[in-house]
């Protein structure tokens, strides 16, 4: 079993760190699925948390890693699946947040325990020589027999998906709306309008977003709506550490809401908020 990857671009290193930092805010533990050409991170895959949503990130290896090599435990296997503490991994990558990092290597090793070594080459202001900052992040190697529990979630089919150019206002609204009602109804229609509705005994609050881009239309109906847990929705937005403003919202009527942030081509953050009864 071998895994080794190298990052050298300062922008990509910052983005990679921001993705992991986002996951750190969502859950204590995280699953890493290392494929031959793609890397996935998943949090809350069993949806057992009532407060934190299912979130996963898919990263095409060639986007961030000029060097990327994965060899599974057995030749027929396609992945290495690891369990890791998001906090530990986040801490190890935090050095990438500031500038002055030449490169960052990720290496699967077994020292006294299996771990991912995060080796950052940092330029110090005082000397021209780079120094190495090493964090050995313990991992659990998940055997092939358990992989069925750690499958990359499938993007649910949306009857209607809209593109929100800036998630800033939606994020701060949801942060307030969660105190008004435990559930939020998202309504999208073919006029490019999104309504987010919180209903309580004393008030009904309807937030309207207009002139949104229509990303997906399936079926003949003009509108689609779904109610979700407001705390989960707020947790997703509250966790975001990425600079991206654009957000895609897809509604699978009565089933779920799919949130998608395209960090860049082939680097995508997803979340699924399941439907709740109003």
């Amino acid at each position: 079993m071998k895994f080794r990857a190298l990052m050298q671009d300062p922008l990509y290193m910052k983005e990679f760190q921001a993705i992991v930092a986002t996951l750190t805010k969502l859950a204590k533990d995280c699953v890493m699925i290392l494929g031959s050409r793609q890397m996935h991170f998943i949090v809350n895959e069993d949806q057992s948390s009532s407060a934190s949503p299912l979130v996963w990130a898919g990263i095409a290896a060639e986007e961030y890693f000029p060097e990327y090599r994965m060899e599974a435990a057995h030749p027929e296997q396609e992945y290495i699946v690891l369990g890791v503490s998001s906090a530990n991994l986040g801490r190890a990558l935090s050095v990438l947040r500031g500038g002055g990092v030449n490169s960052c290597k990720l290496k699967l090793q077994r020292i006294q325990f299996p771990c991912i070594s995060v080796i950052a080459s940092v330029l110090t202001s005082s000397s021209t020589e780079a120094r190495e900052v090493v964090h050995d992040v313990p991992v659990t190697i998940i055997p092939c027999s358990d992989w069925s529990a750690y499958v990359v979630p499938r993007v649910p089919p949306s009857q209607l998906a809209l593109g929100l150019p800036s998630l800033r206002l939606l994020k701060s609204l949801i942060d307030k709306l969660k105190n008004i009602s435990p559930s939020l109804e998202f309504q999208a229609n073919l006029d490019g309008e999104l309504n987010v509705i919180a209903t309580s005994e004393m008030s009904t609050v309807t937030s309207r977003f207009q002139k949104l881009l229509i990303r997906t239309v399936a079926g003949s109906q003009r509108e689609a709506s779904c109610s979700v847990d407001s705390r989960k929705a707020s947790a997703f937005f509250g966790a975001l550490q990425l600079p991206n403003e654009e957000l895609s919202i897809g509604i699978d009527r009565e089933h779920s809401i799919h949130l998608q942030i395209d960090v860049r081509q082939d680097v995508v953050l997803h979340s699924i908020l399941p439907a709740v009864c109003m």
Binding site: L173, K176, S203, T204, V205, T206, S207, R208
Partner: protein
């Protein structure tokens, strides 16, 4: 701003628009000391009254001139929850918004729509449940006396004076008089320490001083402190008291576009029990 409804004002008994909600939001926050508020609208303007027992009352008043648009049919009066109203005005945080208010008829919700100035494609509407309206106590009639003590003070200065007073004290004693001390507030704190602030009528903090009689009265400090939030945003305050010490604090809050919102507090004095 996008007009979403086909005929916005057709069947509404009250319709109003405010260009910048900052001052109104501050004013409402400053009178949220109790949950139930009484809203009264007439040709004279909009009034929102909050009371706590028979000891303190605050009324926010916005004349028609403070609105971009103000239209009302007859006299409308209903109750609502103040924290819901305040929450609604804060939905876009500190972002500058304009507001539209609509009320159809008795039993219907008060609809408030916020439009952030920096984003034309977003708006939020709150439909706030209304309740039957109680009649607020009329304290004004007790302060029509020609022998009233009236003092006009600069708002931020008075706020500072209140702030300097002993925080642990349960009662404040106010003295207003044509003779010295012209204006004095005394508190008795823990360990019976006496602390007082005295302001002469010649102080630059005084904009007008017209006291006809010496009035000494005590008030619960908790109630005086209720006026704090409003005091900090006020440009000027009129302090009025009659011979029994009924205290009126009438404040003016001024918005950036010079629109004025008034808040009137009435505080009942503590009666001597000896």
């Amino acid at each position: 701003m996008a007009d979403v409804e086909p005929s916005p004002y057709g069947d509404c008994k009250f319709v109003a628009r405010v260009e910048h909600i900052k001052t109104l939001t501050q004013a409402i926050k400053s009178i949220c000391f109790n949950d139930y508020g009484m809203l009264q609208v007439s040709e004279d303007g909009l009034r929102i009254t909050v009371e706590q027992g028979k000891s303190i009352q605050a009324t926010l008043f916005m004349p028609p001139g403070a609105f971009m648009e103000f239209r009302v049919q007859d006299f409308q009066c209903f109750g609502l929850k103040m924290n819901v109203l305040s929450e609604c005005l804060n939905l876009f945080g500190s972002a500058d918004c304009s507001l539209r208010m609509m009320y159809k008829d008795k039993g219907d919700p008060l609809r408030i729509i916020l439009y952030p100035h920096d984003d034309d494609d977003v708006s939020t509407e709150c439909a706030i449940k209304t309740m039957d309206c109680d009649e607020p106590i009329d304290y004004d009639q007790n302060l029509k006396d020609p022998d009233l003590n009236v003092i006009f003070v600069r708002g931020p200065n008075l706020s500072k004076v209140f702030h300097e007073l002993e925080k642990s004290a349960e009662e404040f004693e106010f003295v207003t008089s044509p003779n010295r001390p012209h204006f004095k507030i005394t508190t008795v704190g823990i360990m019976q320490a006496v602390f007082s602030v005295e302001v002469a009528k010649t102080s630059p903090m005084m904009m007008m001083f017209n006291c006809k009689q010496t009035v000494v009265a005590r008030y619960k400090s908790q109630q005086i402190r209720i006026t704090n939030k409003a005091m900090q945003s006020a440009t000027k305050v009129a302090i009025k008291t009659n011979s029994v010490g009924l205290l009126e604090l009438h404040l003016v809050m001024q918005g950036d576009s010079q629109e004025e919102i008034f808040i009137q507090f009435f505080i009942i004095p503590l009666l001597n029990t000896d």
